[in-house]
């Protein structure tokens, strides 16, 4: 089994209210100078056939219309 990690994030240009909310909260906590915050998801899995992970992402883990994904095999 191959370990893999899939990172899923909102596509650029689509409003990401979670990222915005985190970004806006930072100055109040003393974290200045942080911008372009985006919040996504991470899925960890083990796969017999890592070749099929892209298909898995396209079909289920991400919605390719609104999200980008990145597969990291570990």
């Amino acid at each position: 089994m191959a370990k893999a990690r899939v990172l899923i994030r909102p596509k650029e240009g689509i409003l990401d209210p979670q990222g915005k909310a985190v970004e806006r909260a930072l100055p109040a906590l003393g974290f200045e100078g942080i911008e372009h915050v985006h919040v996504g998801r991470m899925v960890e899995l083990e796969a017999e056939d890592p070749e099929r992970l892209a298909e898995l992402c396209e079909k289920l883990l991400a919605n390719p219309l609104i999200e980008d994904y990145e597969i990291q095999t570990l």
Binding site: I14, L15, P17, Q18, L61, N63, L65, I66
Partner: protein, 231 residues
Amino acid sequence: MIWGVLQFPGSCDERDALHACTLAGGEARLVWHEERDLDGIDAIVVPGGFSYGDYLRAGAIARFSPAMEAVAEFAADGGPVLGICNGFQVLCEAGLLPGALLLNEHMRFTCRQVQLIAPRVHLTAPEHGQLNARRDQLGGEALSIPAKHGEGRYWAPDEVLDGLEAKGQVAYRYAPGQNPNGSARDIAGVRNEAGNVLGLMPHPEHAVDPLTGSTDGLRVFEAVAAAGAPA
């Protein structure tokens, strides 16, 4: 006229949908998510709720249920399908409707009565092989229906939105100033190109009795019934 109302683990509006279907005319029965057999059903409602807990993304898992596979075939054969709220999300995830529903712009669950406009659509003769539609700029039918959702911000790429407007596929818009979630171009509901699959975020099944203030929701069901009445 026989309605089938899907029921997933986590659905919560299927009983109101059943009630609305019978008020609109005909009989209605629940279709459990593991059922594949839609024989004898004239129209399908995919109801609101939180199918399979809405894990991963709203509607993402429901789309692979046996019942939804049957609904995809039913829709491909021209059968009328109405998706409400979570049902709309499921239909988008299944690719039966264009676009996607994202987290509300203000990140809060919204629950309130909203005013909708159903744009009048003028379909003109095909021109250069393309169906030409024009939205009546003077407005359309107005409906007052409750909305309750956390992920109802309709989004699609600009070229898709342009296409929806050009082909008369925008079924419902929030009235000016009523957009509760930041939906693109105030879109509250869309239909597919063939016109037999309709999805909207607000809940027509909750607006069918004068007791709760508005019966405008019945008109949504009646329109679907008109499309699904056996010849």
